[in-house]
């Protein structure tokens, strides 16, 4: 099963690169949905089939793979935006930064004092790289929707970390995290709606200027 989880983690990293390099919001949201669905496979691949992992996988698939992407796709249809405009840091520089961070995550993870079982695996570096990718998306993009996508990627990174602890982590904790995520996306949806009504655009640059 290690091969399946390695393949999943590699896919996660490729999706990271894609979201950093793509200007089309719809494609970004689809990519994050794919990432969520791939992550749903991970608990099954690492800890085998049992009730606990099945529930974890089903929860992740339903929320990260289906519900939240559906909400976001609905949002871009409502506000009629298709692409990210030229971001604060350009697409190529963020892509390069993301790749450097990924390489850095691999080097850093090799130096961490991990337990035997996790040494040399792909889990820790992928999780760190995904965290950083989400962070980059959050700080570098202008459209509020892309920032929500960044938040989702950030959460996916934390989820990968959590999978290593899935045996020790009670189901309630994971359910709570997923619920938090859903609530956060709802709140962001309401905020998006307010920004859109106030400025008739989703550009968050408007928020940094003071009204006279």
């Amino acid at each position: 099963m290690a091969e399946l989880s390695n393949l999943c983690l590699l896919l996660v990293i490729l999706v990271n690169f894609f979201t950093l390099g793509s200007a089309r919001l719809g494609a970004c949201i689809h990519a994050v949905a794919l990432q969520g669905a791939v992550l749903a496979l991970l608990p099954l691949a690492t800890h085998g089939l049992n009730g606990h992992t099945l529930l974890l996988a089903a929860g992740a698939l339903a929320l990260k793979g289906a519900l939240i992407p559906w909400l976001l796709l609905r949002a871009i249809r409502e506000v009629r935006i298709r692409r990210e405009m030229e971001p604060l840091i350009g697409f190529v520089p963020t892509l390069v930064l993301g790749a450097l961070a990924t390489a850095g995550a691999f080097i850093f993870a090799d130096r961490l004092p991990l337990i035997e079982a996790h040494q040399g695996g792909l889990f820790i570096p992928t999780s760190l790289a995904t965290l950083f990718t989400g962070f980059l998306l959050l700080v570098s993009r202008r459209k509020a929707l892309t920032q929500v996508v960044g938040y989702l990627v950030l959460e996916n990174g934390i989820y990968i970390f959590g999978i290593l602890l899935a045996e020790a982590m009670p189901l309630m904790v994971e359910a709570g995290v997923l619920l938090d995520l859903l609530v956060a996306v709802f709140v962001m949806g309401i905020v998006l709606d307010q920004i859109n009504r106030e400025f008739s655009t989703l550009d968050t640059e408007q928020l940094s200027a003071l009204k006279d």
Binding site: N6, L7, L10, I13, L14, F17, G21, F91, V92, L95, V96, G98, A99, T102, A103, F106, I107, D110, G120
Partner: protein, 306 residues
């Protein structure tokens, strides 16, 4: 004698079957578009027709103008002698031949661009500038991919890089890197052979052309050489991808040759499918995609180095 026979087999495979690949690509695209398409052997007929025509030379051109097409054919032939075709080992192999392989194509590009500049047309100069820009961006990807393969094979010769160990390597953790290398090499193949989504080999729309604009002034036999050189290049650059995806040997040279040709034809079908389902990228997006593949190949290197 052994060496001579192997070189002869290699060159026969290359020189005879290369134009067939263009025919297969064109046929696949035609089938996707719902047309019957030209016969599979059309590229051969085109070459024969061009060879019978006379060529017209502009008065501003010099011998450099003819050097472009000649180098365009000579370089893939030389490079083919370093590249194993499927399980058939390359006739010549020495440590570091991978660098010679990469930069032989740099020589061909230099002469193609020089020939384009020699016509004195600013339009062809623009095509040359684009070609060189894309080549600059594709080169790191190729080198990263070759370093990954060199690291896996623990050798610096193309024949050893694409040796029989690949079948076992796919099943180790290095298999992930090999997958990334295949994707990157495929992108480089499309860029280097000016294929959709990076360039359209059929377009004659002035502002979208990249490679085609540089050979506009060639006619007759020199143009036949240009077309033939492009077909040879496709085959030589496609060979490593086929070898990576089909790392098997039959044990007999005829079987190996047939397997290699079947792999090349499948690759041509794949290129035809890619060209049919993907739209051409905007010119400003191409560098982004190429930098993306560079990063991807760099990531593959990180994976094998740790």
């Amino acid at each position: 004698m052994e060496l001579f026979a192997r070189a002869a087999l290699h060159l026969t495979l290359l020189l005879v079957f290369a134009p067939l690949l263009s025919g297969v690509i064109a046929r696949t695209k035609a089938l996707f578009a719902g047309r019957t398409g030209a016969p599979l052997l059309q590229p051969y007929f085109d070459l024969a027709r061009l060879l019978r025509k006379e060529s017209v030379f502009s008065r501003t051109t010099t011998w450099v103008f003819l050097a472009g097409p000649v180098a365009g054919v000579a370089v893939p032939v030389l490079a083919a002698l370093l590249m194993p075709f499927g399980a058939l080992p390359a006739p010549f192999a020495f440590t570091g031949d991978l660098l010679l392989f990469v930069y032989l194509f740099g020589v061909a590009r230099f002469f193609t661009v020089a020939a384009a500049l020699d016509t004195g047309s600013s339009f062809e100069g623009m095509g040359g500038a684009r070609e060189v820009t894309f080549a600059c961006l594709a080169e790191p990807t190729v080198l990263f991919c070759l370093i990954v393969l060199a690291r896996i094979a623990d050798s610096l010769s193309l024949s050893a890089l694409l040796g029989p160990h690949l079948a076992a390597a796919w099943r180790t953790p290095a298999g992930l890197s090999l997958g990334l290398v295949v994707v990157c090499l495929l992108v480089v193949l499309l860029v280097e052979n000016s294929r959709i989504p990076f360039d359209d080999p059929n377009t004659h729309l002035e502002l979208t052309m990249v490679h085609e604009v540089m050979v506009l002034d060639h006619s007759g036999p020199p143009f036949a050489l240009v077309l033939y050189g492009a077909a040879l290049k496709l085959m030589v650059l496609g060979a490593p991808i086929v070898r990576l995806l089909l790392p098997v040997a039959t044990g007999h040279w005829a079987g190996d040759a047939l397997l290699f040709l079947a792999g090349m034809l499948l690759l041509a079908v794949l290129i035809g499918i890619v060209e049919s389902v993907i739209a051409r990228l905007r010119l400003v997006r191409i560098p982004q995609v190429l930098i993306g593949t560079t990063l991807l190949s760099g990531f593959a290197l990180v994976l094998v180095l740790r």
